[in-house]
């Protein structure tokens, strides 16, 4: 979706302003929001793509005025409501008002180390050979889906070169919406800055994205 998350090339946000000796967390609630996001995700009722889509579906004004852990916490509320774990009244009351969806599993403290060490690999076998090979010239698809996609606006309809075939991966555009993993080959695709940004772009800059096969057409 052309949402607030699609930031590449936007202007007006001011300096990067890296903080010297930045602490890992800026408030205790950030720790809880981070841990809760992982622990609730471990119940197994939504995937990382649906999580990302919940975050980017926040109202742009909300997204841009929220810190990243705020975005996580707000999206977590959306996911918990969507999947029937929590009712809006409960969020207002700050306490449970009854049973909701029963979780497939609950992450216990003793299983955290193993769960984090395992992660969530999303490479998958894909039937058939990759459509593209390293060195192939491609043009990226031009589309503006309202649904989740991982092809940023700045890289749509652009000429690029396949640099590497990365293997098969879960397709976020369908997986985010409960429509299955439908794995596709992923490719690292390189563009020149002038191809993306046009007049005045630095010819010594290249930008790459990792693109699912259906984002690409031969050129």
């Amino acid at each position: 979706m052309n949402g607030p998350q699609d930031l590449g090339g936007q202007m007006g946000f001011g300096p990067v302003a890296p903080e010297k000796n930045e602490p890992l967390f800026h408030a205790d609630w950030e720790k809880r929001a981070m841990g809760m996001t992982i622990a609730a995700g471990a119940m197994g009722h939504w995937n990382i793509d649906e999580s990302r889509h919940a975050r980017e579906s926040l109202h742009p004004a909300d997204y841009y005025t929220s810190s990243y852990y705020e975005i996580w916490a707000k999206a977590l509320e959306v996911l918990l409501k969507r999947h029937g774990f929590v009712q809006p009244l409960e969020l207002d009351a700050g306490r449970s008002l009854g049973k909701g969806t029963q979780p497939k599993r609950v992450l216990k403290a003793e299983n955290v180390a193993a769960a984090l060490a395992k992660g969530g690999p999303c490479d998958r076998p894909v039937a058939g050979a990759p459509r593209f090979q390293s060195g192939d010239r491609i043009r990226t698809h031009n589309f503006n889906p309202e649904a989740h996609t991982r092809l940023p606006r700045y890289a749509r309809g652009k000429l690029g070169v396949v640099e590497a075939v990365r293997g098969g991966f879960v397709f976020p555009d369908s997986n985010a919406h409960g429509k299955g993993e439908n794995p596709q080959y992923v490719y690292t695709v390189v563009f020149s800055a002038p191809e993306i940004w046009g007049d005045g772009a630095d010819p010594a800059v290249t930008v790459s994205i990792d693109a699912w096969e259906s984002y690409l057409e031969p050129a």
């Binding site: 809760m36 609950v106 984090l116």
Partner: protein, 206 residues
């Protein structure tokens, strides 16, 4: 009197996000959906176990051992796993090597993708709109904000982490580091040098 109860987190109590997150944790705990101690364990993992020292050891080994560097280039996931750095947001790793001609810079314009297994949790600036918007259109300008000015002839390659591959930049080994042990070398490898917003530190002149 502003402090009229005994909660030492008083300042956070007044913050709307702190209240909101605490309410959510209360609800989820009451419903048995989360184990608060699991959250403690997750936080502890990233506060004390998984952070940029992991990545620094990978880089130091690559600087010291050409065979390891070659393995890292070909199969970063396996090469990094051999040092026991595995797991969440490091399942599919790529290592990209800076050279005298080309400097690599990593960003996630669409969210906050970052190689947790080797760098830990990302800093705020990495996840925020200024960096995410600018890194792809004006990488040189971004680097100057980190006091890094590269020659105009140095090519810059920006890696936008749009899929599940996670990128670790291997900075160039600094001059004057000849003969240093891996442990000493690792101390020269900053987090930012592994994102591409910095270079490795130069050893102080003996």
């Amino acid at each position: 009197m502003p402090h009229d109860h005994d909660d030492h987190h008083h300042d956070n109590e007044l913050d709307p996000m702190a209240a909101r997150v605490r309410a959510l944790e209360t609800i989820l705990t009451e419903k048995g959906l989360i184990d608060p101690q699991a959250i403690d364990a997750i936080v502890d993992t990233y506060e004390t176990k998984v952070g940029p020292r992991n990545g620094a050891r990978v880089v130091a080994k690559a600087w010291s051992d050409p065979e390891y560097a070659d393995w890292l280039r070909r199969d970063a996931t396996a090469a990094i796993e051999s040092l026991r750095y595995t797991g969440r947001q490091g399942e599919h790793m790529q290592a990209v090597f800076n050279t005298p001609d080309t400097h690599n810079l990593v960003v996630c314009t669409l969210c906050s993708c970052y190689p947790w297994s080797v760098l830990g949790l990302p800093p705020v600036w990495y996840k925020s709109p200024p960096y995410r918007s600018k890194a792809v259109i004006d990488p040189r300008g971004v680097l100057t904000e980190f006091d890094l000015v590269l020659p105009e002839t140095t090519r810059i390659r920006v890696w936008d982490s749009t899929a599940e591959l996670r990128y670790l930049v291997v900075p160039m080994r600094p001059e004057g580091s000849e003969g240093m042990s891996e442990e000493q070398l690792a101390r020269l490898v900053t987090r930012d040098s592994m994102i591409g917003t910095g270079l490795a530190l130069v050893p102080e002149a003996a």
